[in-house]
Amino acid sequence: MSIQDIPGIFTEQGLKTEDLVVNIGPQHPSTHGVLRLITTLNGEVVKDMVPVIGYLHRSKEKMAESRSYFQYQPTLDRVEYLSSFFDHYVYVSAIERIANLKVPKRVQYIRMITMELNRITSHLLWFGTFLLDLGATSPLFYAFREREDIFKLFEDVTGARMMYNYYRFGGVNADLPPGWIERCRSFIRQMPHKIDEYESIVTKNPIVLDRTVGIGRMDQELCMKYGVTGSSLRASGIAQDLRKTNPYCCYDEIAFDVPVGTHGDVYDRYMVRMAEMRESCKIIEQCLDRIPGGDNQNVRNKQAEIDAAKAAAKERGEDPKSVPDLDPDWLIQGQKINLMTYKPPAGEAFTVCESPRGMLGCHMISDGTPKAYRVKWRGASFSNLSVLPELMIGNLYSDLMAIFGSLDVILPEVDR
């Protein structure tokens, strides 16, 4: 009896094979959270893939309807914990738009600086974990070294390393501490060299090229079909950056480029993110130069001068109000409001910003009560993740982590 005679082994096409269904996740080292991918493998080739989401759903949108505006704000840090300044910005700016709150320029600049720094930390973490997915362990530690430096800067400003809760309606919680601008500047001057250091081991690494070039190509049509935004979209050649197209804060006063890729493959997405970190450095450097009032010590001195002048005027019997007040652009709170009980008037606003992962939007409807009527989030990760099966089918199983990693998806933002 030969092997051909055994029933069930051979079909008319030859040796009988079966597809292998692998449940990747929700507990898996490189699904960046709790994503489940039901993957059908033919050998090592992916035949089908269905992402299953919702393992991290914490009803963030419903929570907004059951607590006051200010009480809801700290929970935003947990939505997108790698770049929570952006969530806060979008939320706060929605309220500011509904209530037409005045935002001083110094606040705008502080927000830009912190957001761009946060973009760098987010991209650094992406850089480390992306290469970890490719199997290189060292870059993660180098990326975390600089991330740690930025976290120290954040800690000085906000008191927290990751959960900042720093922005306020029409302002920020506290001014930058004295000397912070100089420290930030010296760090930002170092940063491009550090990025060179990362690139020296990765960008021309033959194995990295083998694993990334031409893999997971996403053409512009596909991007638009799935609503892909952010660096992944720009890597496909569309120079869509909300900081340029719909400037918010003071981005229209700053000169910066929008890095754009050509092929839309994993390698281009890598290159675009590395270039974006350099652009963020440029933005921060300009912001530090242009921030109204400059260092906190300067603002304090000016305030002390004004106070002294007012006291002197009072002593002379003149009206202290004749002495000019501190430039309103130097303040960190546009108008005094009681945050705990603050309620914007009835209205509706949709605000967006360019988060490290793409377009982050917040649609807020206020009915004039202390609680929001509805808060709807538009996270970039959700759309960016939805394109994954399209990119994976026909590719090798080993490409999964390269492609998935390059999309820079964070699951808490997908599930909210």
Binding site: D133, T137, R145, L396
Partner: protein, 435 residues
Amino acid sequence: MYQPTPDFPEWLPRIFQKILDLFGLSVNWADWGSLLTVLWAVVVFTLIAVVAQASVIFMVLMERKVLAWMTQRKGPNRVGPWGALQTLADGVKLLFKEDIIPKGANKFLFTIAPALFFLPTFVFFGLIPFTSQLLAVALPAGALFVFAISSLSVVGLVLAGWASNNKYSLLGGMRSAAQAISYEIPLVMAVLGVVLFTGSMNIGDIVKAQQGPFWNWYGVLLTPVSLFIFFISTLAEVNRVPFDLPEAESELVSGYNTEYTGMKFALFFLAEYAALFAMSAFNVAFFLGGYFSPFGKFILELLTHQEAAQMTGPLQLGLQVEMLFWFMMKTYLFIFLAMWVRGTLPRLKPDQLMGFSWKFLIPLSLINIFVIAIEKFMVLPGGESVMNHLPILQPGSSLSSWAIWIVIAAVVFGGFFILMSRLLSEKLEARLAHR
């Protein structure tokens, strides 16, 4: 001549005689010689096996320290001085862990798979010529036996992958089988050049043939390409980065050992490091002159003005210790290189892994064997071998032959590396240009 084991040291019968004298017994050593030879092999193997395990424990610590140093961390520094007892603590932890066998697993195969994986790496230690005496079994076909045995460990991996009843493990096991088949070939072919030069497969003989200063070592001037191929293939053979596909943690969670816990996992872990140690040791034996010192003479020889062959008693013991020192230094050099590679490179994909072996390493090793055969067997007009005109240098060699060697070395090394870097950069450019 068939020589199953090396000669036992001359002091061994004397010690036995002294012990026997205590009991008033006498023995005719001519009758007992072969038994002593076997006994010596057992003694040496036991000694080596125990010390090697300690060495492997040290290697785990070394790897963690080296990687920490490369990634600006401190590494283990809490258990014992300088973190020296960290691996021991980990071992104790693994010992006390619950031994879990998954429900759908084939219990018998699941249990013997780690042993099957561990066994071959253990056998290696009997074949490594640590010094001229510290060699358990000097097999006449040792070089062949090493690779025959090393292929066996793959059976353990595939079994572990299959018996775990886990899809990740299965994929890991399959990958390791494909990888082993691909990289055994260049591995053996790299050593074939050395065997050609020596005319023997006895690892001890191969080492002895490289006696002399470091430029006499095969890997330095005669077959540097073989060394290059062998090093890469050993990385693949022991599943090290960038060839660690069977346990690619970002894709396969932990590959073939996903379902293993406790001591079974520890066996896999130990065996991997032991295999890395053994492969580095063979690399040294085949290509870097084994236990010989790089200066042509042992330091002890230079100090005492005695030939190594004439040394006896404690002096001989000292010589053995020096040999062990040189052997370990060179072995740890390769181990360090493997760790360095791990700290630098990402992982290949399975298809690239196969492609690299079949499209690059195997053709390269075929060409290499061809070149070595020319070096060894080409006869000049007049019936003289080319080898005679490539004089193996001795400290007393003439200046001109030194100059010839330095020029040859520069051309061979420079040419090889320029060619490689040109090929690589061209490939990279092409890769980026045509996507």
